[in-house]
Homo-oligomer: 415 residues x 2
């Protein structure tokens, strides 16, 4: 492909106007929206409004007058539209890790009640480590065993000992995407529950929790939902489970009548009980702007159109890099159906300095130990010319050997 051909794709792109929703630093090609999404132009003013008007002038009254009390559910209803959940089924709260603790805890309680002999939590060896830490912690606490396997081995391992299948839909390192529906069906056929972490899915790939008949889901607000650094996360429970048990983080925001201040915990109806403490309002307000930036695609074909462009961007980038950089090995699935919204390449030794050299050129991806160069493709604001240019920069970094410079070989806290 030539650069002119990439520019022609941009000229024909019906989603191109969505880019105007965002602040993008000059000279930057941002391929890390899978780690921290970019800033929507609407966010700064909205956050300022919450700070100066709602907090500064409204003070405590804003819990009523500015809708703070129901903000978590209002944003939850918006995210629900992106992941195939129903209204009032999904709520924003806490962090992804804390929400995973809640739903895994609920799932283990349900499994324990229905099938006490089932003692296995099954997950993928290469799942996001935090998910495994939380599962390890709960397994030890509740007398379950966490069993890890490679993705392809999972279906065969589901059996009468399995309590819960806990997976991240799109792998954080490789971008490999599970078949949510098939694996959930397999879990149910074996009598197990299915929990899905949508951290790299919500806003990135079409998700239909009800079509998959999933049991629980959680997800992240600051990646493809553009909610800002550390934006609150979300949690969903299938309505068949939502009211069966309550989760152990029994905070006042999940109480049926939080202002009665009664001594015994009485969980709120439905998903609202998955809230715990007072939500971080400033971060919540920013999250809503981010979610709105994704919903803005609804009138242009929605998640299906975003998915089409994301795959096309990824294919273009992968093809150019493979043609230009024979030193690198594609580490993401070549098959569109198996790939999320990122493209990764591996190099056994120089992955880290190559990424630092790229970042110094303004092409921002990230490195995931031990050997992965990770590039996220966010169709809301990336152009085909960006994908093309990023591949050219990568080739230049390799051909010029500028990655050998000492400054690119010093590890920083966040890589």
């Amino acid at each position: 492909m030539t650069r002119d051909e990439a520019l022609a794709l941009d000229a024909a792109d019906a989603l191109a106007p969505l880019r105007d929703q965002f602040v993008l630093p000059p000279g930057v090609i941002y391929l890390d929206g899978n780690s921290l999404g970019v800033l929507p132009t609407a966010t700064a003013a909205r956050v300022q409004q919450v700070v100066t008007e709602e907090w500064g002038q409204g003070l405590i009254r804003s819990w009523n007058t500015a809708g703070w009390m129901t903000l978590a559910q209002r944003i939850g209803d918006k995210i629900a539209r992106l992941v195939g959940a129903g209204a009032s089924e999904l709520v924003v709260a806490d962090s992804t890790s804390v929400n995973l603790f809640k739903v895994l805890s609920a799932a283990l309680t349900i499994s324990q009640a229905d099938a006490p002999a089932r003692k296995l939590i099954l997950s993928e060896r290469s799942n996001f480590p935090t998910d495994l830490y939380i599962a390890e912690s709960l397994a030890r606490e509740r007398g379950f065993e966490l069993r890890l396997a490679d993705a392809d081995e999972l279906p065969a391992l589901l059996d009468e000992r399995s309590a819960v299948l806990m997976l991240t839909h799109v792998n954080y390192r490789t971008g490999r995407m599970h078949d949510m529906r098939a694996l959930t069906t397999a879990a149910h056929a074996a009598g197990a529950l299915a929990i899905w972490d949508l951290a790299h899915s919500a806003g990135a790939v079409p998700v239909d929790l009800h079509a998959a008949d999933a049991d629980f889901a959680i997800g992240c607000g600051y990646k493809y939902l553009n909610g800002g650094p550390g934006a609150p996360a979300f949690v969903w429970a299938h309505p068949r489970h939502a009211e069966r048990f309550w989760q152990p983080l029994a905070g006042w925001m999940g109480h049926a009548a939080p202002f009665e201040f009664t001594p015994g915990y009485r969980p709120a109806p439905g998903i609202a009980r998955y809230q715990c403490g007072t939500p971080a309002l400033l971060s919540m307000a920013a999250l809503e702007c981010g979610v709105d930036s994704v919903l803005a695609a609804e009138c242009r074909g929605g998640m299906a159109a975003l998915r089409g462009k994301s795959l096309a961007l990824g294919r273009l980038f992968a093809a150019e890099v493979e043609a230009r950089c024979p030193q690198l090995t594609l580490a993401s699935p070549r098959d569109d159906a198996l790939r999320g919204s990122q493209v990764c390449f591996a190099h056994p030794e120089m992955g880290y300095p190559v990424m630092q050299a790229l970042i110094a050129r303004g092409v921002i991806g990230d490195f995931r130990a031990p050997d992965i160069l990770r590039f996220g493709f966010t169709p809301l604001y990336l152009r085909f010319a960006d994908a093309f240019d990023a591949a050219v920069h990568l080739q230049q970094v390799l051909d010029s050997e500028e990655w050998r410079r000492p400054e690119f070989n010093q590890r920083q806290a966040v890589t």
Copy 2:
């Protein structure tokens, strides 16, 4: 007292200049800083900087370049100065409820290891309900029993069955303050651990966790610390406990090497392991401004001076209300040593509409079911004339019977 005498107290108040740090809505006397502190003038610009520069321009790079990675510990070190904790002993994370879950879980684990026969969690019947919900939840999970008692009964109930004494230092309804040192000593003498919730203490009354030899503490960022709605909370563990166990919310921010992405959880040294997921950065930035607004008193006598003014404000208000409003009964301790930074009055029937009528006049306190009119006194920004005027308004609301108006008798979500 006359209003001129109150004005004279303000003219002589060495803390008076601290009020200039805050945005205060015109026409408002804000006596609800114990529920949501006011907006510091520095906050809006700082939050805007985080949004537009650090996030908008720095993007993912700001984890390194803007110090996001260590912000929770930097703010933690500042809060530590307000509660008698050492540097690197306290960290900002999650909500108060989630942090209570962490420290109570750790305390139960420690107690279980050291004295497995101890099965009681002892707390106050009138403790903040969320704290009791969390304790109820963990007690059920871990095979402990939550025993509730009145404040005066607590010392006698500590015995060889007690695992943990869990208390809120200043009662959220009445403002009654426990003797942290005496109760901690009594708990230790009985072989139990002591957990203190500092929600209504941090930034409000002098606290010395080390002098009291407390075991764990948590606290709130959005009350007297002026961190903004839903600001993250804090958590402290005595160094003798910090590394003994890890808490069950084993998220990546509490890992010893979060970016190694290794499958087994390896907790960070010290208090850092009490972090879980990615912190809500916008809310964290606002919290730091709020904490700074309290630390600004350090050069004017610090917490001791703030405490002196807070008590004086409370005494003035209580005396005026008792003289002017015989219908109301003082519900806070009259003894300064037993009272936090709030003054409460009770009325069996008309508490709610009286507070609504007061709020309509711009005198903002809050109502706590079933019968409490709650007034918080934040010496950083309240004047003696404010306390005087608030009492006059309260008298006028009662004498004019304007609280009988229908609009003041309609319950809102947040009261």
